[in-house]
């Protein structure tokens, strides 16, 4: 049996909008193991984004227990959360979120800067990561000199570079055409094959089905948790 990577117990998230309390998440329980490939699906407003932000340590739950790699994330302060994001999580966003002024190599190096790795070592690691996504020949290009698919591959390289415990991909194909989207999904599939744990947040069924397990969110709760195939 593989180790538990993510353990969510009774996760509640409440927002105060004016005088009204909005319950974004109403007590979510979820276990994800190491090397799992999980999709989180749900319509907009379902609480899917809130859940992703909490899993990604960008947000903290109002109540409940969240453990990532056996570490109590729900008790952490801002600095500790930043460190967890830096060391444990690789983000892939719908809008790529690359620094427009920096070239591909520098973009990939960014998480390493914040973990205090030396410039020479950084460069080697970033080049390796770019090679994994097949962009070695584009490392000195800026985002605006790259196609959408290439940009997303830079973002994936950036997510990989710190050897995170978890790759969190939020609608990674949302801004890409079908063919390019397929290429990106192939890269993610490969990364899973190589032993990475991946959580995929999407509203597209075809994309979600690349994963081995689909968690459906509706109205702030898990509506369904289907296992498509064993790892």
């Amino acid at each position: 049996m593989s180790n538990t990577l993510i353990s969510l117990k009774d996760i509640v998230k409440t927002y105060q909008v004016g005088s009204v309390e909005v319950h974004a998440l109403g007590g979510v329980n979820l276990q994800i193991h190491t090397n799992e490939y999980v999709s989180i699906m749900g319509p907009s407003g379902s609480g899917k984004s809130t859940l992703m932000n909490i899993i990604g340590c960008l947000d903290t739950p109002t109540s409940g227990v969240y453990e990532l790699d056996q570490m109590p994330v729900h008790e952490m302060d801002d600095n500790q959360l930043a460190e967890i994001r830096n060391r444990k999580i690789g983000f892939v966003f719908q809008t790529f979120n690359l620094l427009p002024r920096a070239n591909a190599l520098h973009n990939v190096e960014l998480p390493l800067i914040y973990s205090g790795i030396s410039a020479t070592k950084r460069k080697i690691m970033a080049e390796e990561a770019l090679e994994k996504v097949g962009l070695s020949d584009r490392k000195h290009h800026r985002p605006n000199e790259l196609s959408g698919g290439q940009r997303q591959r830079v973002a994936i390289a950036r997510a990989l570079v710190n050897n995170p415990s978890l790759i969190l991909a939020d609608e990674p194909t949302g801004n890409l055409d079908t063919k390019t989207g397929e290429e990106i999904m192939k890269i993610l599939d490969n990364l899973h094959q190589m032993g990475n744990s991946i959580i995929l947040v999407t509203h597209e069924k075809e994309v979600a089905e690349h994963a081995h397990r689909i968690v459906h969110i509706r109205d702030g709760n898990i509506a369904d948790d289907e296992v498509l195939r064993k790892n």
């Binding site: 960008l58 801002d78 994001r85 830096n86 800067i113 914040y114």
Partner: protein
């Protein structure tokens, strides 16, 4: 601490990159800083120049020297009060010289401006100084060619002259002037010596001067002018007691009764030094006032532009935070950026102040020198402004919500 130092160079690179993207904006932003630093450094260099020129001239008066004159150098009183005083005459000088003991030298001295003529050459409005035997000792004259006057020439009021180095050059055009006759005003003078180079003070050359026996000057160019009596004291500690003696002798010479006020002034370097210091400290105060005001305005400008920068770069801030930048690191990034903008402004100002200083030296008689301390002070101030006014925008950036920032396009 490690993250600070590793982040430091990265932040410098980030800041420089951001500045290159917005050159015009950066320059406009630093305008206030530039004006502020430029004002302070320029005034400092003007005063430094004055110190090198004017103050040197004051110092050349000698702290051991008293000047008995009709007018005081420094006064708050009305000028006409002194205008009615009797002129200081040779007889006053002779009286003081006769009875004043244990001083290095007492000498009357006066000057006039006359046109010089030799062969086809002429020089206009040249300073002619009346001298005595003692003048050589007081002024520390140094004869380069020929000789200084002897006591008979002084006594007999001979029409002989010692000329400055530049006069030899311009009037005699390199010919040996010794023994030549030249016209001073309408009077013929024989050149007996050439003065060694003395340099210039406040743009006026001390080498473009003619020296003649004081009696000759008074005889030929007006007996009725007021002269001055120069008293050189042996030791600075004696200045005050000698001053009392001179005052007593002058009053006696003029037959003043005890209830009558002095109708002469005893001037000394100290008074003019005091006035000079007051003037320069006034200038400094004004410069620091203007500088401080511009720096304040500049600082607010920096704060404003940094706030704009933070708002424009929300997405970048979100990305950095998501990838593990702690809030402290974001704060440092923006403070460093603000400090770099201001420091560059300070550097531009210092470069400009060197230009200003050169221009002042060229077009005014004042030598202008940028003092090193003002360079460091200017840089220090601009860095401080960047630091101080960068704190608020940087803290604002660090408090942003990463989720909201990531959504921002």
């Amino acid at each position: 601490m490690i993250s600070f130092f590793i982040g430091f160079w990265e932040n410098v690179k980030i800041a420089v990159r951001a500045l290159i993207q917005n050159k015009m904006r950066a320059v406009l932003t630093t305008l206030g800083i530039i004006i502020g630093v430029l004002t302070v450094v320029s005034v400092a260099s003007i005063i430094e120049g004055l110190n090198k020129g004017f103050a040197k001239q004051i110092a050349s008066l000698g702290s051991n020297t008293l000047y008995v004159q009709k007018f005081p150098w420094v006064s708050g009183d009305e000028w006409f009060k002194y205008r009615n005083r009797p002129n200081i005459e040779m007889k006053d000088a002779e009286y003081v010289r006769k009875y004043l003991k244990s001083v290095e030298a007492v000498s009357p001295s006066t000057g006039s401006r006359q046109n010089l003529k030799y062969a086809a050459n002429s020089l206009l409005e040249i300073r002619v100084t009346g001298v005595t035997m003692e003048s050589e000792k007081i002024e520390e004259y140094n004869i380069a060619d020929g000789r200084y006057f002897n006591s008979i020439e002084i006594e007999k009021e001979k029409n002989n002259a010692v000329i400055g180095w530049e006069i030899m050059d311009k009037l005699f055009e390199g010919r040996n002037p010794i023994g030549q006759r030249m016209k001073v005003g309408d009077v013929s003078y024989t050149v007996i010596g050439v003065m060694g180079k003395r340099g210039s003070i406040m743009g006026e050359s001390m080498d473009s001067e003619v020296y003649v026996p004081i009696g000759s000057l008074l005889k030929n160019f007006g007996v009725h002018r007021s002269i001055q009596i120069v008293v050189k004291v042996r030791d600075a500690a004696q200045v005050e007691s000698v001053k009392d003696d001179v005052r007593f002798l002058m009053r006696t010479s003029r037959g003043l009764k005890p209830h009558e006020e002095d109708n002469f002034s005893i001037n000394q370097q100290e008074a003019i030094m005091e006035m000079y210091n007051k003037l320069t400290s006034g200038l400094y105060t004004a410069a620091i006032g203007i500088g401080a005001l511009s720096l304040l305005v500049g600082g607010i400008g920096i704060m404003n532009i940094m706030l704009v920068s933070v708002a424009e770069r929300k997405n970048e801030i979100g990305i950095r935070m998501a990838l593990g930048a702690k809030r402290k690191v974001i704060t440092i990034q923006f403070i460093i950026e603000s400090v770099i903008i201001c420091t560059i402004g300070g550097l531009i100002a210092i470069l400009l102040s060197y230009v200003v200083s050169q221009v002042i030296s060229k077009v005014t008689p004042f030598p202008s020198v940028v003092p090193l301390w003002s360079v460091f002070m200017g840089l220090g101030f601009s860095t401080f402004i960047g630091l101080f006014f960068g704190i608020y925008p940087a803290r604002k950036a660090s408090k942003l919500d990463p989720i909201e920032c990531l959504r921002y396009e």
